[in-house]
Symmetry: C2
Subunit: 312 residues, 2 copies
């Protein structure tokens, strides 16, 4: 099988491939996208955060009746414009919001590359934005886990006290409900990292809802299904389910407690399905300098599969 | 005659009218455009300076072998993109360069209005930019006058010493020659404010070269020509001439030493040719809070005539 990644060198003037990773604050967007960039190649990929399109800095927001989660707080029309420009292979001068200082800085020049990963709070908010992406992903951890992640990050990296973070989360909840979570239904892939009952001490498992609107050779060809041929079924398996709206979806379960040798087989299967002959890169599944998650690695591989599938 | 300005209310989604005012530093671009905005209406016009598209701040430029006049120092491709967006009625998030601090600031949101005035060092640098404008103007004062203006402004408003300004002018001269002055040949109107021999103490006169590429009812209909019917020929008169490349142009001379009553007649003729019935606004010809130039007022009226002519 030819190497799909190598084949995907974008021809001059042609469209890049774009993937959206939407989700609430601290849902794991950056962790997910970092591994993708490393696997696709730093020189061939670029990541953009649409939270940079804030209209107001932190000081100005104190006077305003909404949080950064509200579309009113963001230049949605400019987001749409810039995503369309990138999707048609053009550079943009992207605004910059500095999360450390809460200030809006000088914009930065961004040229499209073969792969563009767009992450943030609202990348799936409008139809025009959604139309720019080849694959839409929504990160949907249980709220209590997201709260833990947000408290851990904002107290360690952004200089807040725990009470400030929980107060902010409470304040944001109505807008999470109104603007962030409704994006879930537009995602081709909904990713949920959560503990499995009886496995509290294992790494979080992942469940990926795969909507049939993503066109690609079906994953059963790689992994087998519930009736079938999987060689790695303790690492991950597919089951049909109904999503919240009642429509059929595939639910891919990626087990945090799988034996390492089966996880390795599943990773290798997916990696080879992309036509890659090298080893599976260590960057897939990386949580931090010292921590890894194999369910994360498998999730990233499934996302790569969807990004690269059906290219030719 | 119907009021052309009122007629020009832009329909939803339709193109705004765009005028470029190009010229070297301190050539008088802002003075010229301010009067136009006041006459067109603050609520219906917006002015943009393309010098905001600098790639580097003042500190960074110290390490670089070019000045802000060089295309290399500016995001020319983003300038082109933003001018095209505005020309097709779309908003932009415009970068901001602060001339006082020399820093690049947070960008600002600009929506197109009925009339968009684009001024700066390089708005006529590429064909794609020129294609965005309905009228292109180049300001071409004699260099010794521009030097005086630049020294006066930069020492009073930007906090430099006279010697610093002249050193900067010397440093910039090769790039003025290479990039700024070549834009003159692409202008529909070349404006030159200069003293007339024997009238050193009078206000500067203006000479406007009017290239035949601007389509409009010819000014002779309003003003008469050298053979003709002008009622105001000591205020301004048209003569055919050849421009630097040998092509025929109209040269409109606007006299700084004309008697006020004739200047008033010429202003009124031009203002009425736009279908306007109100008095000629005082904002036309305004140099500062306390100083006026009637040749400037007439130059601005001719520009308005070209902007509004042939609209319907």
């Amino acid at each position: 099988m030819p190497d799909k990644l190598m084949q995907m060198q974008r021809a001059y003037g042609s469209r890049p491939r774009m993937i959206a990773i939407a989700g609430d604050s601290a849902a794991g967007k950056t962790t997910l996208s970092k591994g993708l960039v490393a696997a696709l190649g730093e020189d061939r990929s670029v990541t953009l955060c649409v939270d940079d399109y804030h209209k107001y800095d932190r000081q100005e927001r104190k006077e305003l009746p909404f949080t950064p989660l509200s579309p009113e707080c963001n230049y949605i029309d400019v987001m749409e414009q810039h995503l369309q420009l990138l999707a048609t292979g053009q550079p943009i001068l992207k605004p910059v919001y500095d999360h450390a200082t809460g200030e809006l800085d000088r914009p930065e020049y961004v040229e499209p590359r073969d792969f563009i990963i767009i992450e943030g709070l609202l990348p799936l908010h409008t139809k025009l934005m959604r139309a720019c992406f080849d694959v839409n992903v929504y990160l949907d951890p249980p709220e209590e886990i997201r709260y833990e992640w947000k408290i851990a990050r904002d107290t360690s990296k952004r200089g807040y006290e725990r009470e400030q973070v929980t107060a902010e989360l409470d304040k944001r909840e109505p807008e999470s409900e109104a603007y962030i979570r409704p994006q879930r239904e537009f995602a081709d892939i909904v990713v949920r990292f959560a503990p499995v009952e009886g496995h509290d001490n294992d790494p979080l498992s992942a469940t990926l809802l795969l909507r049939p609107n993503v066109k690609q050779p079906h994953l059963t060809r790689v992994l087998g299904d519930e009736n079938g041929s999987a060689t790695s079924e303790r690492a991950m398996h597919l089951k049909m389910a109904r999503d919240a709206g009642g429509n059929p979806v595939d639910a891919l379960h990626v087990h945090g407690h799988a034996p390492p040798e089966e996880t390795e087989v599943a990773k290798k299967l997916l990696w080879e399905s992309l036509g890659r002959e090298s080893d599976v890169p260590d960057s897939l599944g990386k949580l931090s300098e010292s921590a890894r998650s194999e369910p994360l690695a498998l999730t990233q591989l499934v996302m790569l599969y969807y990004m690269l599938a059906n290219f030719d």
